[in-house]
Each structure stands twice: as C-alpha cells, then as structure tokens.
Amino acid sequence: MSLRYSILASGSTGNALYVESDEHSFLVDAGFSGKQMESLFGQIDRDISKLSGIFVTHEHSDHIKGIGVLARKYKLPVYANEKTWQAMESNVGVIPTEQKFVFNMETVKSFGSVDIESFGVSHDAAEPMFYVFHHSGKKLVLITDTGYVSDRMKGTISNADVFIFESNHDVQMLRMGRYPWNIKRRILSDLGHVSNEDAALAIGDVVGDQTKRIYLAHLSLDNNMKDLAKMSVAQTLESCGLIVGEQFELYDTDPKIPTILTAV
C-alpha cells in the first residue's frame, strides 16, 4: 500500500498534480485545456476517467483551465471551498450540481486510506488553499501560490515525506526583468509568490526526519531558472546546516513535462 504521485506540470502556464493510492486517484488543479490534460495523463499512463475527484486550490486560470471540461466529459466530482466555487463559476462553465462538492479550508476529507487535509495560503484569490495527503503515516504536501509561509502553514506541512514547494522567482531577476512595476509589486507582496530564497528559508523550517524529496515548483519562466532555483535553495539550506543529497534530494519541476510516477 503506497501513495504515488506525479507533478504533471508546474508553472505560470498551468499546474496539475496527480496522486494515487491503491484504491483512489486524485487530481489537484487542472490548469490546462482538456486535450492537454489528457495528453499529460497519457504520459504517465493513467486514465482520467478513474479519478476519484479533482481538488481545486484557487480560481486562477493556471489552476482551473481544464476543470470544467474534465468534470463534464468524465463526470468527475470537483472539490473546492465555497468562495472558490463562487469565484470560478463563470470560468469553468456549468458543472452538474451532483458533481460539485464543498471542501472548506482547514478540514479533512477521507477517501479510503487517504486523508486529504486542506490549509489556507496567502495569495490574491478568493480563498486560496492547498492540500496535504496523508496515507499510512506518510505525508505529501503541495504548497505553491503563496506570498509567504506562515507559522500556521509550517505547522500543518512540517516533516512531510515529500514537499512540492513553490520557488517562484529570484528577486533580483524579477527586479531586473521587463514586468510592469505593478506586476512586480504583486509578485513580491504577501499575496504574491514565494521567492527562491524565501522558499529555502521556509523549507529549512519544515523539513524533518521523514523528508526525502523536495520539488521546487511554480517556477517563473521569466524570472527564474531551474538551475538557479536549485542552486539558490540548496545554498540557503546549506547555510542553515541542511545539506541536499544527505537526507533529502532536491528536484525541479517542468511547465510541460510530468515527473515520473513515484511512491511517497
């Protein structure tokens, strides 16, 4: 009995995480068109129609683009909190009422042996929240799209076996970049995204004995690089006394290519 996962894609162009146990399979966000989502599932040799549910983090288009299409086509249950349902209603189209489920923040839903826990993050959306998957004492955390990582969030996510952690931008690259100032300010704000350095500092606070893998996710195409994110996070962790490769490994994620299906 194990929990397996694949980060189907991660970045500002779209996000999707696939998680499965022996009995159930879950999708967190569907930030691509229906066709692209089908292609991503094809790449990990999994069937969308078998999903037990789609779990929505927030209503931004890079997280919900394919929700409506997939829900209607495969008759899948969709879970989101009330405010997110309201905020995304016009963008996902009509989803039959019997497929719409409310999953409020700071609550847990159980699917067989898998417990899915939701927790709030700080982002400029209606009521953004992310998820922790618990299974047989193991823990997988997804946390992206947050301007900062609070002590409360750290308490919820600490000592996970697997972290999928936002490492959105390098502050200097963002400042040097061509984005308009209001966008830069938004990204850097408490309701924006976590930088490489801030991600590393937060990771340093939450890694524990159980932690084996950390994936750097939601990397900005314009204001970050895979090598840079890994280098920056690894060096900051090293300065906190945490050596990558000793207890845990550090990986990057891709905006188009799924990670291989891996057991937690």
Binding site: M173, M176, D227, L228
Partner: protein
C-alpha cells in the same frame, strides 16, 4: 411679405451655406489626408542632441546565456608557487595579498603590455585577467577576470588590484579568482542589439547631449549574488567620451549601476 418668397430666400440662403460648409469640409479632409504622422527616429533624436556613435555596432543577432560561477579558493600550495612574493591568504581563502620583494618599475606612460609577462609568469591564473584601468589618484592598476574573452565587469570575486608607490613601482597586489564558470541555462537566447541599449540609456537621460560613444563591448556582470556562488548576465558596456562606462543588461535592457562601496574579496 409673400410667404413663398420668404421660403425661396431661406432655401437659397441655406443652399449657399451648405455649399460653403461642404467646400470647407472637403478642404480640411484633403489637408488631413496628406498629413503624415512621423515619429522622430532614434537616430534623428541622437543627432538633434549631438550624440555621436563613433564605433561600428554589431548588427547580427548574438546568442548568449547566463553563467554561474563561484569564488575560487587559494591554497597554501598555490601560495608556495609565487616566488619572490610575501603571500598572505585571507581566512576564507578567496583573496591573496602579495608584497613583491622586487618592486616592478613602470614607465611614466603605462602600457598594459608591459605587465603581460609578469601576469603570465608570476601571478596565479594571470592569463585569465585583462587590463581595466590605471587610477593615478589612488595609485592602483586594476585587472578584471575574463571568460571566453568576455570581461567580467566590476566583479570583486575576479580581479587583481596592483598598488603603486610614489616612485611608480608596483609594490603589492590583491587577487581574487572566479572558478567553475558554467553555462547556467541549456537554452541560449538572443541578446538585445546594442542600439537598444543606447536607446534605453538615452531615454533614461543617462546618455547626455553632446556625448560620444567611443566603445561598445559585450561582457558579463553579476546579476545575482547567492550564498556561495553568483549568476552572471550578458552585459553591454558602452564607453562614453573614452572615460565613462555605462552598462546595460543585454537580455532585459535594464541599466546596471554598480555599487561604489564594494570591496575586493567581498563574498
């Protein structure tokens, strides 16, 4: 008065007025039709401000990429190689300070070529550096490290500063050296044309009227300083009137201002 006459006078009057207005309308429309909205080109603006480009600008698209690098560490065995020098390596191992037992006499008009042999034979990795400037006030001669023949501008982790005495002799030097320079991203990207850099400098008022661009060169500058390494970005260097250096990030087009309080060996 006869009503039908009044009506006729009104009709004729308004007919004349309509013809006049139509004539005026056609006249204005024709005038507008041939009015070409011209925006002054950058070249014309520079010409108007008497800014001259006294150098051939590369026109072909240039591809380049970010680099990563680390401050190199000197060892005791490195120091032992330096004969005729009293060598001290700082605690972190990144800076050599060397006093020359036999000072090098320089001619009154310094030529970088006169130090070429000394660099090659008496200084660790001496061939990695290229002359930057001689400061007569501070009595220093500065060299910066290069990568693939591109200078690493103002890089405190890759430089040599020679100190001169009153007799124009090199007495000592301090050296840092960057190592492990690697291309950071797999994919190369096309750099902004130098003309775009000139445009940015002009628009921001950094390029002053009546100035002359005397040199345009591509190198690298430190974009990101991490805990143990740095990221270098392709950078256009424009020399104005043979004395002022202006730098523009060759990917993003932002003007780079180097801090004036950076010290040799800063990590």
């Amino acid at each position: 008065m006869d009503w039908s006459k009044i009506k006729t006078i009104f009709i004729i009057t308004f007919l004349i007025l309509d013809v006049y207005l139509l004539f005026q309308f056609m006249k204005i429309r024709d005038a507008n039709k041939y009015e070409v909205i011209t925006e002054t080109s950058l070249e014309d603006k520079l010409k108007a401000d008497e800014i001259k480009i006294d150098v051939e600008l590369p026109k072909a698209a240039i591809k380049n990429q970010y680099l990563s690098a680390q401050p190199g560490k000197f060892s005791k065995s490195d120091a032992a190689k330096l004969k005729g020098q009293k060598v001290v390596i700082n605690e972190s191992g990144t800076t050599i300070t060397a006093d020359l037992e036999n000072p090098i006499q320089l001619s009154s008009k310094f030529e970088p070529a006169s130090l070429a042999d000394f660099l090659k034979e008496k200084i660790l990795y001496g061939e990695d550096y290229q002359f930057w400037e001689k400061d007569d006030e501070k009595k220093t001669i500065t060299y910066f490290q290069q990568y693939d023949n591109f200078p690493l501008y103002q890089n405190m982790n890759g430089m040599i500063i020679f100190t001169l005495n009153e007799d124009n002799q090199i007495m000592k030097y301090q050296q840092t050296h960057i190592e492990g320079i690697e291309k950071l991203t797999a994919k190369e990207d096309v750099l902004l044309q130098p003309m775009k850099a000139i445009e940015t400098l002009y628009q921001k008022g950094v390029l002053k009227p009546k100035s002359k661009i005397t040199k345009v060169e591509l190198g690298y500058s430190t974009l990101i300083q991490l805990a143990a390494s740095q990221v270098l970005a392709p950078t256009w260097r424009l020399v104005v009137d043979d004395k002022e250096n202006l730098y523009v990030n060759a990917f993003e087009g932002q003007i780079i201002e180097f801090g004036s309080n950076e010290n040799l060996g800063a990590e």
